[in-house]
């Protein structure tokens, strides 16, 4: 995998620069009299870009802390303050960072405004409330009721969410004292639409056999759609990335691993501090994880002609906010589209929002695909809840099972 990363320096370099500029700009924001809003990875961030507010994603910063193996130290700091170790590792790492001030990138600026969209999870709304008290700044709970499969409910839900978008626009006008520019929103949304399409195209490269990308690539390149969607840079970036992969891999029939037998689905978020190890370990067994519903959470399908309506619909219907049947259907669709033949289901102690349905989901997916699943419990960020030996043994045993079944 390391090798493959070096073969496409261009997109990687661009990403590095974009990230540097983004965080640099954010850190200078207050000096430049700009506002900083914290927001959740799934949220109508287009409103911030349209209103010239710099969005910051504490989750992203937490990912850097987790991959930098700063857990459990950060967690222990806030456990001392009375927070429990079974909260989401992102939240623990973030609250810990605020106590000790240590960060792999020199920190993130303090917020002027907080937006918590609960389509992604409920945790964030509570975590941001803690921050809101800490900094004495408003928190806007952007409430997206579960997008249940009933027409009347859906109609009302979209109406409610649109109403909140209007309320948020008012809140932003109040914060900045500036009028919101709806034309600018259309422009931003145009970029989001384009970037989302390209992002999906990038993810879908994994449907090619052998696959030129693994979920490892998806997770690395996901960062841009998360924090720069709504900008032209994001659009250009994914164009560049796709061209590069097509040129270097697809056109030559080169796969991400040399001998691809097992094309795996991964349920849940990655175990951040172990993901590279997992990929290497699997590659040695001719297996590669190709996709996950999690990575697809940012492949939105916007309709630029109806900005508020389309934002409402897209952000409400993310996989973590639909009924289990819908979520299973989306996963099963990925099995078909990507010709997957294995299923690793990670029960993530950190993320209740994604995990509490997994036991049920497992049966639903097995029933449809006939492919056995490996289910295991651990934590995406806290090594105290991770058992190396046990997980490796189970992965090996699982691949042997697939082998015995003549899969791959």
């Amino acid at each position: 995998m390391g090798e493959q990363a070096e073969k496409k320096p261009k997109a990687k370099e661009v990403m590095k620069q974009l990230t540097k500029d983004y965080y640099g700009g954010a850190l200078r924001a207050h000096e430049e009299n700009k506002y900083v809003a914290y927001t959740t990875a799934v949220s109508p961030v287009e409103l911030f870009y349209a209103h010239d507010i710099i969005p910051i994603y504490p989750e992203n910063h937490s990912v850097m802390c987790l991959t930098g193996r700063m857990m459990p130290r950060l967690s222990l700091e806030i456990e001392k303050r009375g927070y429990t170790s079974h909260l989401c590792a992102y939240a623990r790492s973030d609250l810990g960072y605020r106590e000790v001030g240590e960060s792999p990138i020199g920190g993130i600026p303090d917020p002027d405004f907080l937006l918590a969209c609960n389509a992604q999870c409920f945790t964030l709304t509570k975590w941001f409330q803690v921050l809101s008290r800490r900094y004495g700044v408003p928190v806007f709970v952007f409430d997206t009721p579960q997008y249940i499969r009933k027409d009347e409910a859906r109609k009302n839900i979209i109406k409610y969410v649109e109403h909140q978008l209007a309320e948020m626009i008012e809140a932003l006008e109040e914060l900045t004292g500036r009028k919101f520019d709806h034309d600018r929103l259309r422009e931003v949304l145009g970029y989001s639409t384009e970037a989302s399409k390209l992002y999906r195209e990038f993810l879908d490269l994994a449907s090619i056999k052998p696959s030129p990308i693994s979920i490892f690539d998806a997770l690395i390149h996901m960062a841009i759609i998360v924090y720069l969607r709504g900008t032209k840079e994001a659009v250009d970036y994914y164009r560049l990335l796709i061209d590069e992969i097509k040129e270097e891999k697809v056109s030559k029939g080169i796969g991400v691993i040399p001998n691809e037998r097992f094309r795996l689905y991964w349920e849940n978020l990655p175990i951040w501090f172990k993901f590279r190890d997992h990929s290497d370990f699997l590659a040695a067994h001719d297996a590669v994880i190709l996709t996950s519903l999690y990575a697809h959470a940012w492949s939105y399908d916007f309709d630029v002609s109806n900005p508020l309506g389309t934002l409402a619909e897209n952000y409400t219907s993310v996989f973590s906010n639909v009924e289990l049947e819908d979520r299973a259907e989306r996963a099963i669709e990925l099995f078909r589209r990507y010709s997957l033949n294995g299923n690793i289901m990670f029960m993530n102690r950190s993320c209740k929002a994604v995990t509490f349905g997994v036991l049920e989901l497992k049966d639903m997916i097995i029933k449809e695909t006939g492919i056995p699943a490996l289910l295991f419990e651990s934590d995406m960020g806290d090594p105290r809840f991770y058992s190396e030996v046990q997980i490796r043994t189970r992965l090996e045993a699982y691949l042997e099972t697939l082998d015995r079944m003549g899969i791959g």
Binding site: L87, C121, D143, Q146, Y160, H163
Partner: protein, 379 residues
């Protein structure tokens, strides 16, 4: 004091099912609709000609629910699921599951798939109540619930019927608040366990019957039941969602702690306020929702949980707070460190008890609560 009536009410709180079954045998035809905590507008179910019943889990071991809901989900959700899967699945005709957080959202998906039912609805409560959108949303959602109930029964819920139900529910809340007031003034007139069991029995028993029982109990009270006890005991405020396992309340009683205020979903939040009887009845029900005390998963501007708790302590001249924390309840997990700091900043002692529905080792909890009580007494 009318002891037999009190005993009857308390026996409902011990286990309502045999009695409800007996009620059915006596010819009760109404369907029973179970709903989990909290804030389902029971008046609507009642007006639809059915019997609302609040599902409050089981204290028995979790056996079947574990296959569906992971062990780090709160025991409230797991016990509710366990109860319907194992014990009383046949008892209910339908369910309404309110949603407030990730746990309730998943619970409702699992329930819909794993439990047998003739009727199932989720009730999508607003998770913010600080903006106008929440009110409109709850109105739309309540109207949807109304139509859904109507289509299940095939009968329209008329305004008249709904007002009638609201009247019955208001009356019930009124009786319970009156008793609470008596308990506040004369903390020894009824034990904590007995009083909160009265509220529990109200969540489990047909309201018109319950009103009759409460009325007989109240009218049977004599002056000697209330006199001469003012100011006795150590006055505390109880905070949280539920008081489980029930032995917790016995421990408070045995430790000489008198509950004079609370913000529990199975306490004050259930009995206050009334639905105001004017205008449109559905709107009136929705209005009531926004006047209730704070509830941890629901966001409201400011630091409402703390402000409300502080107010409860001051208003009721309590000496401290006992906070009942359900293990794995994330909302409470996030609230607690700041809440403790804020309360202590006000000089108000707060003691947190972490329990689960299945907590059986109560000796340690008892010792610590007693120690807290003693420290309050010495103040």
């Amino acid at each position: 004091m009318n002891r037999p009536v009190l005993e009857e009410l308390l026996s409902i709180a011990r286990d309502p099912c045999p009695m409800l079954k007996a009620w059915r045998r006596k010819g009760e035809k109404r369907k029973i609709i179970g709903s989990t905590l909290t804030d389902v507008p029971e008046e609507l179910i009642h007006a639809a000609g059915m019997l609302p019943f609040t599902i409050l889990g089981t204290n028995k071991s979790i056996l079947r629910a574990s296959a569906h809901l992971p062990d780090n989900a709160c025991s409230q959700a797991r016990s509710d699921l366990e109860m319907v899967l194992t014990y009383q699945g046949d008892f209910f005709d339908g369910y309404i599951l309110p949603q407030v957080d990730d746990t309730t959202q998943h619970l409702s998906d699992i329930w819909r798939r794993q439990v047998r039912w003739d009727y199932f609805e989720t009730f999508l409560l607003p998770r913010q109540i600080d903006r106008p959108s929440a009110r409109q949303w709850l109105l739309d959602e309540t109207l949807r619930l109304k139509r859904s109930l109507e289509s299940f029964t095939g009968k329209e819920i008329s305004e008249g019927r709904l007002w009638e139900s609201i009247g019955i529910y208001n009356q019930n809340r009124g009786y319970l608040r009156r008793l609470y007031e008596m308990k506040r003034r004369h903390p020894d007139f009824i034990s904590n366990r007995q009083f909160f069991d009265l509220i529990k029995s109200s969540m489990w028993w047909p309201k018109e019957e319950h009103n009759g029982l409460l009325e007989r109990f109240i009218s049977g009270l004599e002056e000697t039941d209330l006199m001469g006890k003012e100011g006795e005991g150590i006055r505390v405020v109880l905070s949280g969602i539920v008081w489980e396992p029930p032995e917790i309340m016995d421990i408070l009683d045995q430790s000489g702690l008198k509950v004079v205020g609370d913000d529990l979903c199975v306490g004050w939040r259930y009995i206050d306020p009334d639905v105001e009887a004017n205008g449109d009845p559905v709107k009136a029900i929705v209005d009531r929702h926004f006047k209730k005390g704070p509830f941890t998963p629901i966001y409201d501007k400011g630091n409402k949980i703390f402000e409300n708790l502080l107010n409860l302590v001051t208003r009721n001249t309590a000496e401290g707070v006992i906070y009942l924390h359900i293990k794995f309840n994330e909302s409470q997990d996030y609230d607690l460190p700041d809440l403790i700091e804020n309360m202590e900043g006000e000089g108000i002692p707060i003691f947190v008890v972490e329990t689960e529905y299945q907590t059986t080792h109560l000796a340690g909890i008892r010792t610590r609560i007693q120690a807290f009580g003693e420290s309050l007494a010495q103040k």
